[in-house]
C-alpha cells in the first residue's frame, strides 16, 4: 500500500460494501472480474462470504468514512447491539458446552454466533421507531449496508453450519449449476443493466435542468415579456415607457441578486418597496440607497409611512428629475433623507392649514418619538429629513 492506489472499499461503485470495487480499482481491472471470483469462491465451499465480510469490516471505505470496526466501536446503536447479541450467544453456548450438553460442539457454536449477530442487526434495523425509519430513509446507503451485513452474517453462519456438518455436499450438486447459470446471465445482462442505471441518472439530470429552465422561462414570461409588450403598446408615452422599464429593472435585479424580496419585513426592504410603489404610481424615478438595516417595528413602520408621503410629495411637485432616497440605519437609530431637484419653496411661507406635510410627515414622526425637518430653498430643491431614535 505504497503511494500508488491505496486499497479502499468503494461503496459508491459497489453493490454491498464495495469490497470488490475497491480491489478492482486497486488492481486497475473491471470490478466484475473480482465479483465473479468472489461468487465462484462462494460457490466452491463458501469461503467467499467470510472473506468478503472480513474485507468489509477491515478495509476502510473510500473517503472519510471509518472502517466498520471503528464505527462499531464508536457507535452506540445497531452495531453495538448486534455485537452484544453475538457475545451473549457465544457466552451461552460456551456455557452449555462447558456443561457437556450433547449438541453443542464447535461445529454448531461459531455458525450460531455469527448468525445471531447478523440476526440482531437485521432485527434492530427493522424494529426502529417509525420516525427514525423515516429519518434513515434519507440515508439509504447506511441502512442497506446494515441490513445487508446482517443478512450476510446470517446466511454465512447458516452456510458454515451446513458445510461443517457436511449437509452441503448433496446441495452443491444442485446449487453449483444454478450459480454458474446466474453468473453467465449476469455477464450477459450486466451491460444493459449498467446502461439502464446510467440512462436513469442522465434522464434525472436532464429533468432537473429542464425544470430550472422552465422556472426561468416562467419568470421571464411573467415579468420581462409582459413588460416588453406593455412598452410596445405605450411607445408613444416616453414617461410611461421609462417607468415600466425601471420597474422591470428593479424587479429583475431583486430576482437575480436573490436578495430579500421587495416588502419583506425589514426597514430597508419596506423603504425599497414604498419607493417602488410611489415610482409606479407617479412615474418619477426614485434612486434608493440604504446603509445598514433595522427591524420593521411600529416606529419603523411610521418612518416608512412618512418617507412614502415625502416621496409622493416630491413626485407630485418636483417634476421629472430623479428623487433620491437615502436611509442609514444602525443601532436602532434610523435616518431617512428624501431629496428632489424640483423648484423648492419657502418653508416658513407655507400656510398653517396645509395639512399634508404637517400631519402625515411631521406629526406622524413626532407621535412615534421621531422628528422630521423640511429643508427647502426656492430654486434648489427640497430635502425632507426624517430621524427616528431608539
Amino acid at each position: 500500500m505504497s503511494e500508488a492506489v491505496e486499497l479502499r472499499r468503494d461503496p459508491s461503485h459497489g453493490y454491498l460494501g464495495g469490497v470488490c470495487a475497491g480491489f478492482a480499482s486497486r488492481a486497475g481491472i473491471d470490478p466484475i472480474l473480482i465479483r465473479i471470483g468472489f461468487i465462484v469462491a462462494v460457490a466452491i465451499g463458501g469461503v467467499g462470504i467470510p472473506l468478503y465480510a472480513l474485507g468489509w469490516v477491515l478495509i476502510p471505505a473510500e473517503g472519510p468514512e471509518k472502517p466498520a470496526v471503528q464505527r462499531l466501536l464508536t457507535r452506540s446503536d445497531t452495531w453495538l447491539v448486534a455485537a452484544g447479541m453475538g457475545c451473549l450467544v457465544a457466552a451461552g453456548l460456551l456455557l452449555l458446552r462447558a456443561w457437556d450438553v450433547w449438541f453443542v460442539s464447535d461445529q454448531i457454536l461459531w455458525p450460531f454466533v455469527i448468525a445471531a449477530t447478523g440476526g440482531a442487526l437485521i432485527w434492530r434495523q427493522s424494529q426502529s421507531a417509525p420516525e427514525r425509519v423515516a429519518e434513515r430513509a434519507k440515508l439509504p446507503r447506511h441502512t442497506v449496508n446494515r441490513a445487508a451485513a446482517g443478512a450476510a452474517l446470517v446466511v454465512g453462519g447458516a452456510l458454515i453450519f451446513l458445510y461443517v456438518n457436511d449437509a452441503l455436499a448433496p446441495a452443491r450438486d444442485v446449487v453449483l449449476p444454478v450459480l454458474v447459470m446466474l453468473v453467465a446471465l449476469t455477464i450477459i445482462l450486466a451491460p444493459w443493466w449498467i446502461r439502464m442505471v446510467r440512462g436513469l441518472a442522465d434522464e434525472r439530470a436532464a429533468r432537473i435542468r429542464s425544470q430550472e429552465r422552465a422556472e426561468v422561462a416562467a419568470h421571464l414570461h411573467d415579468s420581462v415579456l409582459q413588460t416588453l409588450a406593455l412598452v410596445q403598446k405605450r411607445a408613444d408615452d416616453p414617461r410611461e415607457v421609462a417607468a415600466l422599464a425601471r420597474r422591470q429593472e428593479r424587479e429583475l435585479r431583486a430576482w437575480l441578486n436573490n436578495t430579500r424580496p421587495l416588502g419583506e419585513a425589514t426597514l430597508a426592504g419596506a423603504l425599497e418597496a414604498a419607493a417602488a410603489e410611489v415610482e409606479a404610481d407617479h412615474h418619477v424615478p426614485i434612486d434608493v440607497v440604504t446603509v445598514g438595516d433595522g427591524p420593521l417595528d411600529e416606529p419603523g413602520a411610521a418612518l416608512v409611512a412618512a418617507a412614502r408621503e415625502a416621496l409622493v410629495n416630491a413626485s407630485k411637485f418636483a417634476g421629472p428629475e430623479p428623487i433620491s432616497l437615502y436611509a442609514e440605519m444602525a443601532d436602532g437609530r434610523a435616518e431617512v433623507f428624501v431629496r428632489d431637484r424640483g423648484p423648492g419653496f419657502d418653508v416658513s411661507a407655507v400656510p398653517q392649514d396645509r395639512r399634508g406635510v404637517r400631519d402625515s410627515i411631521v406629526g406622524r414622526m413626532e407621535r412615534h418619538g421621531g422628528r422630521a425637518t423640511v429643508h427647502s430653498t426656492p430654486g434648489q430643491g427640497t430635502e425632507v429629513e426624517l430621524v427616528m431614535e431608539p
Partner: protein
Amino acid sequence: MTSVVIVDDHSLFRAGVRAELDGLVEVIGDAATVEEAVECIVRLEPDVVLLDVHMPGGGGLEVLRQVAEKRPAQRFLALSVSDAPEDVIAIIRAGARGYVTKTISGQELADAVNRIADGDAVFSPRLAGFVLDAFASVAGPVEVADPELEQLTAREREVLRHIARGYLYKEIAARLNISTKTVEAHVSAVLRKLQLSSRHELSRWAVQRRLVD
C-alpha cells in the same frame, strides 16, 4: 478634450455611449474583449478607459490586471449595469477610480470622465452607500496594520452621506462650507482607503469575487 476608450462586449451599448459622449469628450477607440481592450489601451494611451465590469474572459477585473502591468498610470471608470456590492467593491479595489451605472446621462458621464482624467474619484450615490456600509459594520478581529486606513474621518463620512443623498460635489461644497477641490480630496482619500484597507468586509468581497470568477 479628454480621450476615451470604451470597453464593453455589447456593440449596441458602445455605439450608444459613443453617440452620447459625442462632442463632450473624444472617443478614440473601443474594444469588445479583454485581449482587444488591453491591446487597444496600450496602443492608444487614452486619458480614461470606460470599463464594463461583466465581460467574457475575466471581465473588467482582468483588463485592469493586465493593463496595470503595462501601463500602471492608466485611469479607469467602471461602467456597469451590475450594482451588486461585491462587483462594485472588487472593481474599485482592483484599481478603477470610479463607478457609475449605465443609466447615467451623457452629460453626467462626460463630467465623470473629465473628473477621472483630472485624477479625482467618482462615486455614484450607490457606491457611496456601499462604502458607508462596508466601513460602518464592526471590524472583526483583524490585525490593523494602519489604523488610519481602516476608518473614515467624520468629514469623509459627511461627504459620502451627501453623495448618497444625491448631492453634486459643488452642492456638497456649498453645504459644508468647503471648496469643491476639498470635496474631491475627501473622495480621493476614501478611494485610497477603499483600495488599500485590509478591513475584512472589503477583503471578503474581493475574495468572494475572485473565487467566483
